[in-house]
């Protein structure tokens, strides 16, 4: 068992207030939907926990995992769904079709489920050039083949010009829960090590730059790829010591850490200097005024591993193509429960809270 370093009285007071606010079930009281409800941060959490979860009252939704589970005969199945509305639909390193396959494959992978089959539902905008559709269909087929998963069903709808943005893609997937590990959002224990599978912030930054809204030219490509090989390697190396995995999409690594700190009623301590960030991403993020820890990834997971197997897990991860720059970035602590604290490179400490607002809309 380990403890956070002591915090000052003033810090303790502030943390107490934040903690108290958090302990309440969020209530959804907003009058209208705003972009921030789709950003993966506080507003999204309020929408999900305040409106959707109470309405559907499902145990598996309550656990707020990346995928739901259902038992069929002797098999525990995971099932997940995601809509993709990324803008632009093509960007350095990928496209909406590739993202739609990898996003759903990754939700299954981090739930400890080998992806088996996907369905594909398209909402197309009237007037979409067929060549753009064909390119995405090819991207979907290639990504599915790469991830070794079949597309077994689909649907296509068309809406009038102006009522979509070229195309929206919804992929759903099922996978079989792997027996090697028992993952749980509530299973984190003080002393567990926090591992990221590679450098953070590339996908969201690549999308922002691709929009040409900023006078910034940097060679940054999306990290979109299947995380099943990484998840597989972690389960093999850490077994039951692997407590939980999450892919760090909307809201980035910071959001994953906050959600799991709350779900497991633990604290997290992150060493900022240990977080791998490409220099180009760090530079772009500084100019855009965004912390890379809040920027979406599409091929990065965060894993929580018991201290006994943390080194083996990290070594196994680094041997997986695409995860060579995996790193241990911090540790699970006891106090203050539900909080994420960052030890900065300059010896300071700050709270890394959930994202408010939506600095990076429609990045997936």
């Amino acid at each position: 068992m380990s403890q956070s370093a002591p915090v000052s009285d003033r810090e303790q007071k502030i943390l107490g207030i934040i903690e108290k606010t958090r302990a309440k079930r969020p209530r959804f009281k907003d009058k209208r939907i705003t972009m921030s409800h789709g950003a993966g941060g506080k507003a999204t959490q309020t929408l999900i926990e305040g409106l959707l979860v109470p309405a559907f009252g499902s145990e598996t939704l309550e656990s707020l995992g990346d995928a739901g589970t259902v038992r069929i005969g002797d098999t525990e199945l995971a099932m997940t769904t995601d809509s993709f509305v990324v803008k632009p639909i093509r960007f350095p390193g990928g496209s909406i079709g590739e993202l739609a396959v990898n996003g759903t494959v990754n939700d299954l992978a981090v739930s400890g489920a080998k992806p088996l089959a996907l369905t594909l539902s398209l909402v197309l905008e009237e007037g979409l050039p067929s060549e753009e559709l064909r390119a995405e269909v090819d991207a979907i087929a290639a990504a599915a083949s790469e991830a070794d998963v079949q597309i077994i069903g689909g649907d296509t709808k068309v809406v009038e010009r102006g009522h979509a943005d070229k195309m929206y893609v919804c992929t759903s997937g099922i996978g079989e829960i792997d027996p090697r590990s028992s993952l749980s959002t509530g299973g984190l224990r003080p002393g567990d090590r926090i591992i990221v599978s590679g450098s953070v912030g590339e996908h969201g930054t690549a999308i922002m730059l691709a929009r040409d809204e900023f006078e910034l030219d940097a060679d940054i490509v999306s990290d979109t790829h299947s995380l099943w090989p990484a998840a597989d390697a972690l389960m093999e190396a850490a077994g039951p010591e692997l407590r939980c995995m999450r892919d760090a999409t909307r809201g980035g690594v910071a959001t994953v850490l906050n959600e799991l700190a709350r779900a497991s009623t633990v604290a997290m301590s992150v060493n900022e200097a240990d977080v791998p960030v490409l220099p180009a991403v760090a530079g772009a993020a500084e100019m855009l005024g965004i912390d890379p820890m809040y920027v979406a990834n599409e091929g990065r997971l965060v894993a929580f591993v018991g201290p006994e197997r943390a080194d083996e897990a990290l070594a196994a991860l680094r041997a997986v193509p695409g995860s060579e720059s995996a790193a241990e970035i911090g540790e699970v602590k006891t106090d203050p429960p539900g909080m994420v604290l960052v030890e900065t490179a300059f010896g300071g400490r700050r709270v890394m809270d959930l994202l408010a607002g939506d600095p990076l809309p429609r990045i997936c």
Copy 2:
């Protein structure tokens, strides 16, 4: 075995040309996506068979059923997905949320699979009043409870004002294939009876009237409801004599008959006078210039049953709440393969082809 009544030389020649054209695999050559690609008729078929199926090269997609299948251990699972873009989102008899649950439940039901679990993915338009979202969330919860199916996962995205139309809903579902029947789109045999589970054309007509584009006031409500009880009753009554079921959504009963005539290389003969149509629907359809057989239903299935069990199947269906007006409307024939012929109420005969264009956009 039964044969169609003889057709004239001129009819035979026309049928020959149509048949030849149909035998070719459709090629997708359109330059841009139009509303008709979403209508469920010829353009949709060309998009699916000419672009999507060849790209994904999956056996289960090739069979063009309402759901794909995947074997897990000893269990045969069905999986399906649908996006809903209906306009307006609330209409007499239902709303987009209810439709999204029932549509996916029904795709599973007609595939002979008891619905087990659904996922829900929302694309919301910025500015959507929260009360409208709350009403749909409640409608989804109520329909899921009514259909005895759990919502086990979800996703929410938000797009800028103007880039969606209030909300689009994508539901995906899994179910366990029922061992009582072995359904197949290619399993129809001459002599099989064609049964519809109730009066046709109500959903699409209700939507059209709800749009207030026509100076027409009729008391027509959508037929949206779960078809699992109907499918269950049919499997119990007809067992292996139940060849295939389809829910008659976009493109209506006419499209189902055309698709299955092609898939089974058989002809269909429909007695127009036997097709149940509510007087209000018949009247509205006449004024709108639309054949109710092409109008979407959201709680009607078409079943094909061997002659030995057809009467039992019909009786069982009529005992199911919501299917009291089920009727036998025709018979599977040998010639001309791939064609649907209608014996009109006036003693004439006409070809009932696939829909071209989109007379009723965004009805689901």
